[in-house]
């Protein structure tokens, strides 16, 4: 009996190993090791081919911080992230309040606001460039009616604004859904009590709904920021970084340097910096929001 029990347990141990090891190995080899490697490769001159990249110390990093192209890309990326986050969250919360409820029209609107998120950013970019390009749909319409061509994608400033607008168009549906979920958790009794006490709609929103949404707002802001900081696909398809490189983001430069110019060591340094900046920003926002939430409640 004892023997039977022991072999059974040993068999179970083997089964447990069989259940744990494969996933862990794939996870470690494909995700954990690469994160470490990114740091190592950022100190090398790896060109993507040599098996033994030469270690060149921190020169990728010094080069990176003095590179004007990189600085401009950092500026573009931050602008896109901040403006996009503001747009997505204002629209996200606003429309969540507007389409809150289970009527058929609300459900239809939620689908309509969300659907661009289903499409790949690449397709979204190609589609909007066909609509807003110099010979695109909008400009064809304008010139057909005697107007002049609007430089949505051919003027640097316009192109940046267009890119941010398209990012918001494609992404704020997710924020709507997240804010809607948050709104369901706002205690009805609080809202009703405020209404009975004679609070206006705006006062209820400002002093009851918004504070109760606190954590949801934080999640949404961090989520939008993190997503927008790595904007890549849309740059490729909407502007290809142009005009004259003015809409290149950091992620665009990382992949360009790495796989067009074969400077994967340099690209690694850029991606390490991007990862650290993203982490710091997410942390700072969470901290700031927490302090803000405390202030509201105290």
């Amino acid at each position: 009996m004892n023997f039977v029990k022991r072999t059974k347990r040993a068999g179970d141990g083997a089964a447990t190993l069989l259940m744990v090891v494969p996933a862990t190995v794939v996870f470690v080899v494909m995700l954990v090791v690469p994160v470490g490697l990114a740091f190592y490769l950022s100190l090398t001159d790896w060109d993507g081919y040599s098996a033994q990249p030469k270690i060149i110390g921190g020169s990728n990093y010094t080069h990176l911080f003095s590179d004007p192209v990189m600085r401009h890309a950092a500026f573009v990326t931050l602008l896109v992230a901040v403006a996009g986050t503001a747009g997505m969250n204002l629209l996200g919360l606003g429309f969540a309040l507007l389409v809150n409820g289970t009527s058929r029209i609300n459900r239809f609107l939620r689908v309509v606001l969300f659907y661009p998120h289903v499409l790949s950013a690449l397709v979204v970019g190609f589609l909007w460039s066909a609509i807003l390009g110099t010979t695109g749909a909008v400009n064809s319409l304008l010139t057909a009616h005697g107007g002049s061509v609007l430089p949505f994608l051919s003027d640097p400033t316009w192109a940046l604004i267009t890119m941010i607008a398209v990012l918001v168009w494609a992404g704020f549906g997710v924020n709507v859904v997240l804010y809607l979920a948050g709104l369901q958790a706002v205690p009805r009794s609080l809202v009703e009590a405020a209404r009975i006490d004679g609070a206006t709609r705006w006062q209820v929103f400002r002093h009851v709904t918004l504070p109760a949404l606190g954590p949801v707002v934080t999640v949404n802001i961090v989520l939008s920021l993190v997503t927008l900081l790595k904007t890549y696909d849309l740059v490729v398809s909407l502007t290809a970084g142009g005009p004259a490189g003015q809409t290149q983001t950091v992620a665009y430069l990382i992949l360009w340097n790495s796989f067009h110019d074969n400077r994967l060591g340099f690209g690694s340094a850029q991606s390490v910096v991007l990862m650290i900046v993203t982490g710091i920003l997410a942390l700072v926002v969470t901290r700031m929001r927490r302090r803000g939430e405390m202030a509201v409640y105290s």
């Binding site: 089964a15 259940m19 289903v118 950013a121 589609l127 319409l141 989520l223 991606s271």
Partner: protein
């Protein structure tokens, strides 16, 4: 516009009973007057216009698109350009569908086969090492994909898997593991362990207990992950582009669209039909299962 008003009034009829029951609904209703309906209608039109332009122009010749991009010349519509796009020598979209579906199925099957069992062990054990393992997987959800492309190329080259389907599927699967393990372990935690004990009494081993007893109960959470993985593999551009490489001749729908469209970006009789073919399957899938897809993709978005 008139169609919208019809839907609106029908929706109001539908809620009339509950409105009578709940008095606070009335204030909601007062707000949902004409201005709100008009505004939301305009927003819906703005959101849907790009899709309309895409669909309509996929059936028109270049001159017609340039002359009247928003028009719907019912008589002049043709499927000629759609069939051209289907037989584009630059990018065989039928093959693109096949390759993408192969990847989607492979990643989903492998992801469930790997993440399910390990999540089960983690959820059913109070041992420290498994709690640490869960934390490690959880930390993995914070790894930004962009950082990984370059070092993964190094790993795949070392393993001799660069430019292969196996290497690509393995990496895409690895990307799905952290969040899957996290979701599955949480879900299994809600399934009573008495079920496992009953199976053990009947002589089933751990593997059998998981696959025969627990796994069938995980359908909702597996469905969420399958939706999430399907969209992320289908829409992924960077990873297939870099790992499979343009040289391999292996295009997914998304990398194929890039190959076909970027060169002809002003020949709209190529652009629109190709884009339409690329998104049609996903859009149909979305319309049929929208509620599950919205909640699934939103769950995925919050993973950080």
């Amino acid at each position: 516009m008139s169609e919208l008003t019809v839907t609106e009034s029908r929706a109001e009829e539908g809620t009339a009973v509950s409105e009578a029951a709940a008095p606070e609904r009335r204030s909601v209703r007062r707000r949902s007057g004409l201005p709100r309906a008009v505004f939301l209608g305009l927003v819906a039109i703005f959101m849907l216009t790009p899709l309309y332009v895409l669909v309509v122009n996929a059936f028109k010749p270049q001159e017609e698109i340039l002359a009247n991009p928003f028009g719907l010349p019912v008589g002049a519509l043709t499927t000629r350009y759609l069939s051209h796009a289907l037989h584009n020598p630059q990018f065989n979209i039928v093959r693109g569908y096949a390759v993408t579906i192969l990847f989607v199925v492979a990643v989903n099957v492998l992801s469930v086969a790997l993440a399910g069992p390990v999540a089960y062990v983690i959820a059913r054990s109070s041992r420290r090492r498994y709690r640490l393992l869960l934390l490690t997987f959880l930390a993995g959800t914070f790894i930004p994909g962009q950082v990984l492309v370059i070092p993964v190329v190094y790993v795949l080259k070392t393993l001799g898997l660069m430019g292969t389907i196996r290497g690509f599927v393995l990496f895409e699967t690895a990307l799905t593991l952290p969040f899957s393990v996290f979701l599955y372990a949480g879900y299994i935690g809600t399934i009573p362990p008495t079920l496992d004990q009953a199976a053990a009494v009947d002589g089933a081993g751990r593997l059998r207990t998981f696959w025969k007893i627990i796994f069938p109960l995980m359908r909702p959470v597996v469905a969420t992950m399958v939706i999430l993985n399907t969209f992320s593999v289908w829409n992924d551009f960077v990873n297939p582009q870099i790992i499979l490489g343009p040289g391999s001749g292996l295009y997914t729908v998304t990398t194929g669209v890039y190959a076909a469209v970027s060169q002809y970006s002003t020949d709209y009789s190529v652009v629109f039909p190709t884009l339409l073919l690329a998104i049609a399957p996903l859009l149909v899938f979305f319309v049929v299962m929208q509620r599950h897809i919205i909640s699934g993709l939103t769950a995925g978005a919050t993973k950080g």
